[in-house]
Amino acid sequence: MAISIKLDDLLHDNRMTLTELAERVDITIANLSILKTGKAKAIRFSTLEAICKELQCQPGDLLTFEDAKDNETP
């Protein structure tokens, strides 16, 4: 998928575990794991807002776009 999630890095920077974040943003660990592993198909603005608030970051810090063409070798 061209959109990747940098949740692992942000959790590390904030010295927070996935369980702690799940409790703070009121989302199940299962759902956060889906988000972390990039298996989620969509993210609600409310979820994004809650995560950004807890991790003190911008949406752009959490989500990055990688163009598949850029990664292709000629």
Binding site: I27, I34, A40, K41, I43, T47
Partner: protein, 188 residues
């Protein structure tokens, strides 16, 4: 406001539909057994039946009437099998509604299958109508002068064609519903 039954619950409509479909299923099985049994019976007693029927007719009917009647029974049997297929799919769909998970791809497939089955039933009904016409023309005239008639209507019907269209369109709607459910399930 309409009350929608929760998962595992059965309201009056669902319960009635389930009982009615159970009854139809048994009726179709019973009718199919009778039709299957009638085929060897026609082969064994066909000539006797023809002689008895011939007594009431101006001209004795040809023996081919028996074979055409056997064909009629076989087409009817095929219709019964398709009815069973349709009822069975409908029962499974009803079960998925009761379980609270009706918007899935399997139900879309079931609806499409039911649509095709009813379309084939429509065509076979037309074949039955044609076979009845042939049988009546072979029997000729009755001695009492009364025309030979057959109860029931056979052939393509407008309601049947509309039902086929409805089922095919509903199948598409269920496919789209399944897509939307998948999207929703993948939303965090």
């Amino acid at each position: 406001m309409t009350h929608i039954a929760a998962k595992g619950e059965e309201d009056l409509v669902l319960k009635s539909a389930r009982l009615l479909l159970g009854f139809f299923r048994m009726a179709v099985i019973f009718a199919s057994v009778i039709l299957v049994l009638s085929l060897p019976a026609m082969a064994i007693f066909g000539q006797d039946i023809l002689t008895n029927v011939g007594e009431k007719l101006v001209n004795p009917p040809p023996s081919s009437v028996i074979w055409i009647s056997a064909g009629f029974v076989m087409v009817l049997l095929l219709i019964m099998l398709l009815c069973y297929f349709t009822i069975d799919r409908l029962r499974k769909m009803l079960a998925s509604v009761r379980e609270g998970d009706p918007f899935n791809r399997t139900n879309g497939l079931r609806l499409r299958g039911m649509g095709i089955a009813i379309f084939v039933i429509q065509i076979l009904s037309g074949v039955l109508g044609a076979l009845i016409g042939v049988i009546i023309s072979l029997l000729g005239e009755a001695k009492d002068g009364e025309p030979i008639t057959v109860a029931g209507e056979f052939g393509l019907s407008l309601s049947g064609i509309l039902l086929v269209l409805l089922l095919i369109i509903l199948a598409r709607i269920f496919d789209r519903g399944a897509d939307m459910r998948d999207e929703l399930e993948g939303t965090i």
